[in-house]
């Protein structure tokens, strides 16, 4: 990130533009009426405020900048958060500072792009080496281009706005909003219910061995026969055919609505895996990834979800996966 501060740009605000018109009217009135000392004094006061406003506003922003190091994926149609780290050499706080962000909305390859501009993170006293939280605009799912971010202030008089460009990532990934998941007692049951398995209740996998009972083990895993032979409780250790965690297979040969539903569900499952700090595995036509501790970060999956587009029905299918992998989108005939 650039250490030096970007140049400050000054522009009249709405109040400043009105002030210019007001000054013009007063000046014309002064010209129209016979000379009067007090009228001229007030006109001087009004005239002096303009350059002073420029000077004070620039001075307020002198020596302070910011940097946005990371723009994490944000949910669609919600305002996400971005941490803005203030930098600079200023000793006194800058007053009335906020962050402006400008994002060009990607509309599925359409040439015409809408630009969303938002101001947030207003801070009364901004000091270097502190953080403020800005908010991104509401955007549809996709990977959008961040046209720029600025640190702005119109303090003290509100007549002039000072803007300083701040370094920030050039892309903002907007992932689908997570879908609501059914309330079941554990994750395996959840996955099974989503898969439509008759074995959803047990959520079992293949047994891999026996071990002594530990606190937290479920009673249903106790192998009573083995426990009767020993003097202590013994549990069956289960090992699934798939990896511990959540695994999905996304078939993108579907329409937009189905894909959106599938992505929302995938996002919800990703959040579950992230919360439990478990692996999330995703397989699709052109992508296969494992996300979690020691693997690729979860945000990459979210980024993929943000950029995901449907494929034609004639496209090749995704790679084959195990029977217990959740296949998305969930087709109604499969749930039968």
């Amino acid at each position: 990130m650039a250490k030096s501060l970007q140049r400050l740009r000054l522009r009249p605000t709405g109040l400043g533009a009105k002030g210019i018109v007001f000054w013009t009217v007063i000046f014309l009135a002064w010209l129209a009426t016979p000379y009067a000392n007090l009228f001229f004094l007030l006109l001087c006061l009004l005239s002096v405020l303009a350059p002073l406003s420029v000077w004070w506003t620039a001075r307020n922003m002198n020596g302070i900048g910011a940097v946005i190091e990371n723009l994490g994926p944000v949910p669609a149609e919600q305002r996400g958060e971005a941490v803005v780290h203030l930098v600079g050499t200023r000793k006194q706080p800058a007053l009335g500072v906020e962050v402006e962000m400008c994002v060009a909305v990607q509309n599925g390859g359409s040439r015409r792009r809408a630009v969303r501009r938002t101001r947030s993170g207003f801070t009364i006293e901004a000091r270097p080496h502190r953080d403020i939280v800005a908010r991104t605009p509401r955007l549809p799912r996709g990977v959008h281009v961040v046209q720029g971010a600025w640190l702005i202030s119109s303090t003290p008089l509100g007549l002039i706005r000072a803007r300083r460009r701040i370094p920030c990532p050039t892309e903002l990934a907007v992932h689908p909003q997570p879908a609501s998941l059914p309330a079941v007692r554990d994750r395996s049951a959840l996955l099974a219910s989503l898969r439509g398995d008759s074995m959803a209740a047990s959520g079992d996998f293949g047994p891999s061995g026996l071990r002594e009972f530990r606190e937290g083990d479920e009673a249903r895993h106790v192998d009573w026969r083995a426990s009767a032979r020993k003097t202590e409780l013994v549990v069956r250790e289960w090992e699934s055919d798939a990896i511990q965690g959540i695994e999905i297979c996304l078939d993108r040969r579907c329409d937009d609505e189905e894909l959106e539903d599938a992505l929302e569900l995938a996002t919800a499952l990703l959040f579950v895996a992230r919360e439990d700090k478990e692996v999330f595995v995703m397989t699709t036509q052109d992508h296969s990834g494992r996300y979690g501790d020691g693997k690729a970060p979860y945000d990459e999956a979210l980024r993929y979800f943000a950029a995901c587009t449907p494929l034609e029905s004639t496209a090749p299918p995704p790679p084959s996966v195990g029977h217990d992998v959740l296949r998305l989108p969930i087709r109604k005939e499969r749930a039968r």
């Binding site: 709405g14 109040l15 009105k18 007001f22 007063i26 010209l31 129209a32 009426t33 016979p34 000379y35 009067a36 000392n37 007090l38 009228f39 001229f40 004094l41 007030l42 001087c44 006061l45 009004l46 005239s47 002096v48 405020l49 002073l52 004070w56 000793k91 006194q92 706080p93 007053l95 009335g96 207003f122 009364i124 006293e125 202030s153 119109s154 303090t155 003290p156 008089l157 509100g158 007549l159």
Partner: protein
């Protein structure tokens, strides 16, 4: 809206109301309502979301607007300005009470400036300064708060301090730069304006100032002050004249006093009514046989003045080199007119200067008045005895009889004049048109309302005439100058009207029934408060009455300021040194307070490190430094310092990791 911002705006609106109050255009009932609504704004604002509240407020605006439009159709531009001021004041109160959460108070700021601007058309005395000075920081502070107070959270105390301090500092800078711009920017002080005639606020409307015709019945008067005369002594220690005559008026028709040339000729024919006679190219005299006593040099500062103002006892006057003597018209009533425009055709304007010499004259008050000798005199005095044939004259006669009582009938003229004058001055109050209780006509005044000098003079003249005492009205200026002043500037606000009575044995003498006004009383009063007020008044007049010459003097003063400062430093080196030291100490104290305060444990630790003669190396922890100190300081003498360092290190560690630290 943030509560803090609303309170700041309420104070701003209060200063706007103060501006409106000093204009005198709004009655107390309106003002009281506006003040009450402003003070109640923080409480009333909770209702601004309700439809009924909004309907009432908007209805109020429409009602006032309708009243003002109705009034405007019947009055002139001048009164439209007054009415607009009332509407602007109400709009301020309306905005304060009805601004929504997300609405910015932009209009309030603009309206505030407009109110200050319109006020300066009505009042430019020191009251304007006293309201203007707090208005500037309130305006700037409110604008600052509007940028900071975005939501409804209270501001932190540190933010409050920053807001107040920066606002005061910036207000001083703004005022200083404004004053500098006011002095340094060249402009035409006599500019008429592009639409001067159309928008003439002075032309057909009342303005306090000299006039050679008196019209009674103005509803209001502009108090915009400008300099008229500058007088310096040519004779050292000469007493300043009080009255400076410009015109006389003899005939009253309806509510207007005027003087015809026939009246002036008659004035000159009366015995002891010495008239001006030209004695040289630019000199006139009217008392050649009397010894001249005191001389004054007079400069006319008002380029629109068409008179040479002379003291009542002027015996001789001589015009300056730039005055065209042929344009001087010395009249039979001892006034002098001057056609300034004719003299300035094709030439740059030069101020009219002349020297006037006063001579001793009989005041007529201490000796019995003479009698009217014959029928011819009676005919000549008829214009000075005539009263209009209306109810006002009857009322004046009745009042005269009432004030004199039956026993006064047999007394001679001076006693009657003095009695009526004293009773009028004592019983009637003084008020300019438009002020509270001011008369709107002579009938009003005679019934007990307050009035200004023209009412007093008219009433006295009518009463005297009903008692067969010849008199006329004189207009000019009354100046109660400080005897120690080296020069006096007579301003338009000192315009005055008084009565001149005819004494057959002594001629015309002055009778002034107008009581001294509050300003004059204050000017004469002793004490530090009066002195401060006079100082402020004089300082403010330097701004409101500034002209081209004044601007040049101000620039010269600014240019001389560094030299003046140097002279002051040289003459008071010790005081200046103390002042500088005090300033440096103040700045150092402020800088020290600005630094983020360290916890006492850190301060103590650093002191202990310094005492050991060590310095913390880069990235060295306190314990590593302690280890280094233990290996370096092994002597018995350093044992105490080492112990101190150990203690300070432990305390520092506890404070930093086990408790709240300042950093």
């Amino acid at each position: 809206m943030n509560p803090t911002l609303r309170i700041a705006l309420a104070f701003l609106v209060l200063t706007c109301m103060a501006f409106v109050q000093i204009t005198g255009v709004i009655g107390w009932h309106w003002l009281a309502a506006f003040y009450a609504l402003t003070l109640a704004a923080p409480w009333l604002s909770r209702f601004n979301e309700r439809r009924l509240s909004r309907m009432l407020w908007n209805g109020g605006v429409l009602l006032i607007f309708a009243i003002l439009v109705n009034d405007a159709t019947k009055t002139t531009v001048r009164y439209m300005l007054e009415d607009g001021l009332i509407l602007a004041a109400f709009c301020q109160v309306h905005l304060l009470n009805n601004l929504g959460r997300k609405q910015s108070p932009d209009l309030l700021f603009f309206n505030s400036f407009l109110i200050a601007l319109v006020t300066c058309f009505f009042s430019d005395d020191v009251a304007f300064l006293l309201v203007f000075l707090p208005w500037v920081p309130l305006q700037l502070g409110s604008m600052l708060l509007a940028t900071l107070a975005r939501d409804e959270r209270d501001l932190a105390p540190s933010t409050w301090r920053a807001v107040v301090w920066t606002t005061l500092r910036r207000s001083c800078v703004t005022l200083a730069l404004t004053a500098g711009a006011f002095v340094l920017i060249p402009r035409d002080f006599a500019r008429e304006g592009l639409a001067g005639r159309l928008l003439d606020i002075r032309g057909t409307n009342a303005e306090v100032g000299f006039s050679d015709e008196i019209q009674l019945g103005w509803r209001s008067a502009s108090r915009r002050e400008h300099p008229v005369l500058r007088v310096t002594r040519a004779t050292p220690n000469a007493p300043w004249p009080t009255y400076w005559r410009g015109a006389t008026m003899t005939t009253l028709t309806g509510s207007t006093w005027f003087s015809s040339s026939a009246d002036r000729i008659l004035s000159g024919r009366l015995p002891h009514a010495s008239t001006w006679r030209r004695t040289g190219v630019g000199s006139w005299t009217r008392q050649p046989e009397r010894r001249s006593e005191n001389s004054f040099d007079v400069e006319i500062l008002d380029e629109k003045a068409r008179r040479l103002f002379l003291p009542h006892d002027a015996a001789h006057f001589e015009v300056g080199p730039y005055v065209v003597a042929e344009n001087v018209n010395a009249r039979n009533d001892a006034t002098v007119s001057y056609d300034h425009r004719a003299a300035t055709t094709g030439r740059t304007r030069s101020s009219v200067r002349y020297r006037v010499t006063t001579g001793p004259r009989r005041s007529g008050a201490n000796e019995p008045a003479g009698r009217i000798r014959n029928a011819r005199q009676k005919r000549e005095l008829r214009p000075f005895l005539s009263v209009p044939n209306n109810s006002t004259s009857l009322r004046a006669a009745q009042l005269a009889r009432q004030l004199l009582g039956g026993s006064m009938r047999a007394r001679e003229q001076h006693a009657i004049v003095e009695r009526l004058r004293a009773q009028l001055a004592q019983n009637q109050g003084y008020a300019l048109p438009g002020e509270e209780g001011a008369a709107e006509g002579l009938e009003d005044f005679l019934s007990g309302a307050k009035g200004h000098c023209e009412y007093f003079a008219t009433a006295l003249a009518l009463m005297l005439r009903t008692q067969s005492i010849p008199c006329r009205i004189a207009s000019g200026f009354r100046s109660n100058a400080d005897p120690t002043a080296t020069e006096i500037v007579v301003s338009s606000m000192q315009a005055h009207a008084w009565v001149e009575c005819w004494d057959p044995s002594a001629g015309w003498y002055i009778v002034d029934a107008t009581p001294p006004i509050a300003d004059e009383v204050a000017d004469a009063a002793p004490g530090w408060f009066a002195d401060a007020r006079r100082f402020l008044d004089d300082a403010w007049k330097n701004i409101t009455t500034m002209d081209a010459a004044g601007r040049i003097r101000a620039i010269a003063w600014l240019q001389d300021s560094p030299a003046m400062l140097l002279r002051t430093v040289k003459s008071n080196p010790i005081s200046v040194a103390f002042a500088i030291l005090g300033l440096v100490a103040l700045v150092a104290l402020r800088r020290r307070r600005r630094r983020v305060p360290h916890a006492p444990e850190i301060v103590d630790y650093e002191r202990a490190v310094r005492a050991c003669g060590l310095e913390r190396a880069h990235a060295e922890t306190p314990h590593e430094l302690l280890g280094r100190a233990e290996s370096l300081l092994s002597s018995q003498q350093d044992a105490e310092k080492l112990e101190d360092l150990r203690r300070a290190t432990d305390a520092h560690e506890r404070a930093r990791y086990a408790g709240n630290t300042g950093s």
